[in-house]
Every structure is written in C-alpha cells, then in structure tokens.
C-alpha cells in the first residue's frame, strides 16, 4: 500500500485535493451555505492593496489623463460654443412659439367674448406691392370670407379684405395709404377718419381745429364706415397739433403694434359700446378710477375739465337727457333734441311731446342704456324748429353731424 502511494504519489495528491474540493463544493451546493471565513480573508487581503492601486492610478494616470483632457479643452470649448449657439437659437424659437401660443390664446378668448361672428385666420404671406401694406391670410371665399370684411385682433383693427380668393384673401393693412376707417375718440367723442400713410403711423383726418383731442387718447371704430363694427380699438394718439384747415392727429394703430400672426375676420359684425374706461398705454400700469369717480360720471367730468366747452357739453347732455335723447344714436334725418329748452332741476319732459316721430335707434348689440323714461315736462316749451347745433352753438353733434365724412 505504501509503495502504491509512493509510486502514484502525484496522482494520489491530485485525487485527494480534488476530492476535498468536490466535497466542499457539494456541501455548499447541498446546504446552500457558504464558507465566509475564506472569503473574508481573501477580501481583507485584496481590498487594501486595490485601494492603494486605485490611489496610485488616480494620482498618476489620473493626472496624466487630466493633462490630456486639458489639451483637448480648446476643441471642447469650440464645440460647446457651437452647441451654446444652437441652444440659444432653439431658445429663441421656443420663446417665439410660446408667444405665438399666448397670442393664439388671447385671440381665442377675444373671439369667444366678442359678439361679432369672427373667423380666425393666419397670415401666410405679404403682398408684393412696393409701397402697399397688405398681407395674405389663409382663409378665403370657401371659408365665407368676402371682400370688404374687417380684419381685427384683440388689440385693434388690422385692415380689411380687399380681395377674397377661394382659399386665401388679401388684407389691406391699416397702414396702407389707401386705407380709411371711421373712428371716434373715446374721451371727447370726436369723429374722424383714420388713414394710413405707408409707414407705421396713421393719421386722423377731418377733425376741426376747434375740436379737442388729447395726446394719449384712444380712438375706436365708429361703425359708420360699414366695414368695422363700432367699438373696436383703432389706435392711440401720439401727437396732436392744429393744421391749416383741420387738426393733424397721429395715432399708432394698436392692431399692428405687435407682430401679426393670427387675425380674426369679422364675418358678421355687431356694434358695441365704446368703453368708458380708458385703456392703459401698452406696458404702463394704470390704476382703476377712484370710487367716487367711477360711481358718478359727472364728478369725473368735473375732475377731467371745467372749461366752457365742458360746461356746454354738460348742459346739452342734460337737455338731451331731459328729452330722452341719446347722443350718437340718431340716424341721418332724424329730429334732434330741442337745445333751447331751459332745463331746471327736477324737470320732466315727455320725449314723445318734443320728438313725436323719433324713436331711439339702438344698434344691434348696443349695450348703452336705452330704456325710455316716462317724463312729463313742468312747462311745455314752445315748439321751435330744430336747431342745427353743430354750427353756432358748438355742442357735440353726435355721429349724425359727421357721419358723411367719417364714413368715407
């Protein structure tokens, strides 16, 4: 036996070692247990050396690597600059997209609020005229667009349709020299005609030098041009001075101040009231009116101005109210109120007695209070022929006196 082991010593040792390991392996597999002691020793031996090696690598190869990284910094910087430029362009594009979305949202809100029937359209190009200001929109006759329709935005009027093609339309912008629209000022109710000049500013024509227009005052569409419904913002006065024959009034067309992307074509316009509150200038915060002024327009009138013209205006307004007349509503040829009537406090006048054939004409959608008051005059004024107020007496004659000019 001993000679056998001696003769086959190598093979015996191999079998013993392999068998021992096989038994260890079988025990681990069968019991699902491990030999943690061997693993702890091995890991405890290797890990500190590995940590030292990693430190060495970090302070040697890592430094070299950092050096080579620094060598490539210039190229990386150039690449980052290009990437930064692309990101800036992308940022501008996305910002423009957000603004477009905001404008579209405002357009949608305006479309839902305005009583007029409108059709949203998108500007797809501009006309080819040298001095003309016209653009193409993507809605045409197939969508119900007709020549002569108004084109507006929530900020104000844009222009009018001068040609309706089946799938597109040509819009004459308000800045075109051939553009004209009837407008009325918000505060002083001065009627005029808004005209384009071929550049960014428009003028208000046919306003007498005696009439009052203040810088910063807003002009609204009067509705008498039969193109734009009454009550749409037209623009804000930037400069006013007396001319040789009439006032020279310059306004910024409010509908064209911001970039045009989407517009509304007014398919079926409804006249609206001109707002009492002044619109704040773009970008300037304006507080609401004090409570007493908001409740009492007469107090506001006293605050705003106490000139002779203001007193005359107040007197004629009282005359009109006593006779149930609403300025700005009379049609051409209707009987004006009796401006020679003496109005005393508490006086009641039957409007039917003074103007038997006149009925208050209210435009569709007009929100002004037009409920007639049954009043009885304390003393019947003598029947007199209707006086022409616009000439010698100088009250604001309302739209009837200027309709012909402002609607051209």
């Amino acid at each position: 036996m001993e000679s056998f082991l001696t003769r086959y010593r190598n093979l015996t040792v191999l079998l013993v070692v392999v068998t021992a390991q096989l038994l260890l392996l079988a025990w681990q597999v069968k019991t699902a247990e491990d030999v943690p002691l061997i693993r702890v020793w091995a890991v405890t031996t290797v890990v500190p050396v590995a940590r030292i090696l990693d430190d060495v690598r970090r302070y040697t190869f890592g430094s070299l690597q950092d050096y080579f990284v620094l060598v490539g910094v210039r190229d990386e910087n150039r690449r980052l600059r290009q990437e930064n430029t692309q990101l800036k362009m992308q940022n501008h594009f996305l910002t423009a997209q957000v603004h477009t979305a905001d404008r579209a949202h405002a357009l949608l809100a305006f479309q839902s609020e305005t009583p007029s029937t409108t059709l949203p359209a998108r500007i797809i190009g501009s006309g080819t005229g040298v001095n003309s200001a016209n653009v193409f929109i993507d809605r045409g006759a197939n969508s119900g667009v007709e020549k002569g329709m108004a084109v507006v935005t929530p900020e104000g009027i844009v222009g009018k349709i001068v040609e309706a093609y089946p799938t597109a339309s040509l819009v004459l912008l308000a800045t075109d020299p051939s553009f004209a629209a009837g407008v009325v000022s918000q505060r002083n109710h001065v009627f005029g005609t808004m005209k384009g000049q071929g550049h960014g500013t428009c003028i208000i024509d046919y306003v007498q030098n005696e009439q009052r227009v203040d810088p910063g005052e807003w002009f609204y569409t009067s509705g008498y041009d039969r193109v734009f419904p009454r009550g749409f913002p037209a623009g804000q006065v930037t400069a006013v001075h007396n001319g040789r024959y009439s006032k020279e009034i310059f306004i910024n067309p409010s509908g064209l101040q911001s970039g045009l992307d989407e517009v509304l074509v007014v398919l079926n316009g409804v006249h609206q009231a001109i707002p009492e509150n002044e619109l704040p200038a773009p970008g300037i915060h304006m507080m609401p009116a004090p409570p007493e002024l908001a409740r009492n327009p007469k107090a506001q009138q006293q605050v705003l101005g106490n000139t002779t013209a203001d007193r005359l205006r107040t007197a004629y307004q009282e005359v009109g109210e006593a006779q149930g007349h609403h300025f700005g509503e009379g049609l051409p040829g209707s009987t004006p109120p009796n401006f020679n009537m003496k109005v005393t406090p508490g006086m009641k006048v039957n409007p039917a007695a003074t103007r038997p054939s006149e009925k208050p004409a209210v435009e569709p959608g007009d929100t002004e209070d037009s409920v007639p008051v049954d009043v009885t005059p304390p003393e019947q004024p003598p029947a007199q022929p209707p006086a022409a107020p616009a000439g010698k007496n100088g009250p604001p004659a309302g739209p009837t006196g200027r309709q012909g000019r402002s609607a051209r």
């Binding site: 010593r9 190598n10 040792v13 191999l14 070692v17 392999v18 390991q21 096989l22 260890l24 392996l25 079988a26 681990q28 597999v29 491990d34 030999v35 943690p36 061997i38 693993r39 020793w41 091995a42 890991v43 031996t45 290797v46 050396v49 590995a50 090696l53 990693d54 690598r57 190869f61």
Partner: protein, 185 residues
C-alpha cells in the same frame, strides 16, 4: 505505463529537475494576478480596454508555476490555492468556493506532468500549452457549472478559441518577465 515509457522516464536527463522560484515570485505574482482580476473591471472602465477582462492571469500563473517547477504535487497545491483564492473573491451566492479550485488544480497537475516529459523552454510550445490549458480550463469549468450547479449555460467554442489565443499571446511576454525570478540550480 509501458516498459518503454518507464525506461524513458528513468533515463538520466529525461526527467527534468525542478527549478526553483523566488518566494516573491511564488506568492506575489499570483497575488498580483488575482488583484488584476479584481481590478480589471476598474481598468476596463478607466482605460477602455475591453480585452483586459478576457485575460485569465491566475491561470497563466498556475501554468507558469507548473511548467517551471515540474512537480505535480506542488503544482496541485499551487493551483488549488490560487483557484480557491479566486473563488473567494467571487460572488458568494452564485459562485461556490471550489469551482476554480478544482479546475486550476487539474491544470496545475497536467501542466507539471507535461513539463516533466517535454522541454517547455520553446516559446511556441509555451504558447500552444497556454492555449490548450486555457481551453481546458474554460471547458472543465463549464462542465462543472452544468454538472454540479445545474446551470444550463452555453459554451461558445469560437469565443473561447479567440480568448485562448489572446491569453497565449499574453503569456509569452509575461513568462519572459517571470523568468527573471527563476532560481536556476
């Protein structure tokens, strides 16, 4: 064993005398090889050299020790020690201790037996033996995995051949460096 082989082995000069290795070479070299195996993933991630993960340096150390020592008994223990150490550094749940131990024990024994009978100083022969033992190591490990652990893994012969060639190529300069630690009689 035939009478011819008995006579061949007993003939003077046929059985090569064992060569010694410095203690540094015996302990430190396999330790560094195991450290390399542990650190190889880190090196791969740092230097982006994926072929480093295919090197089996502990196996090369066992082969080198067995070829140099020409003693099957010491090669068996050497292979068992290196293999068990390598097992201990593996994942406990999936790799029980003894898998590499058994395989490297067999590799050490056969490598030492071969070196007793053939002159393994020739680099080409060293490369061929390294390739053969690598393939044997991988194949026997795959057999143990299937037989003892019941893991149905595939043996990619083509891949193992390529990796065997890689290890054989690496073994030539590595063994040349390790020869510096050899103690000649």
């Amino acid at each position: 064993m035939t009478e011819y082989s008995e006579r061949l082995l007993d003939a003077p000069g046929a059985v090569r005398r064992p060569l010694g290795l410095r203690i540094v070479g015996i302990i430190l070299a396999p330790f560094l090889a195991l450290l390399f195996q542990v650190y190889v993933t880190r090196l791969v991630s740092v230097f982006s050299y994926p072929f480093l993960s295919y090197l089996e340096l502990p196996l090369l150390m066992v082969v080198y020790f067995a070829l140099v020592r020409r003693e099957p008994v010491s090669a068996v223990f050497y292979g068992a020690a290196v293999g068990l150490f390598q097992d201990a550094l593996s994942a406990p749940g999936t790799h029980p201790i003894g898998m590499y131990g058994i395989v490297k024990t067999l590799v050490g024994y056969f490598a030492a037996s071969v070196s007793q009978r053939f002159d393994v100083e020739n680099p080409i022969l060293i490369a061929i033996l390294t390739f053969f033992f690598y393939f044997f190591h991988e194949f026997f490990y795959w057999v143990l995995t299937r037989a003892l652990l019941g893991e149905m893994t595939n043996f990619d012969t083509q891949q193992k051949i390529v990796f065997g060639l890689l290890n054989a190529a690496v073994s030539l300069p590595l063994f040349h460096v390790l020869d510096k630690m050899k103690v000649t009689a």
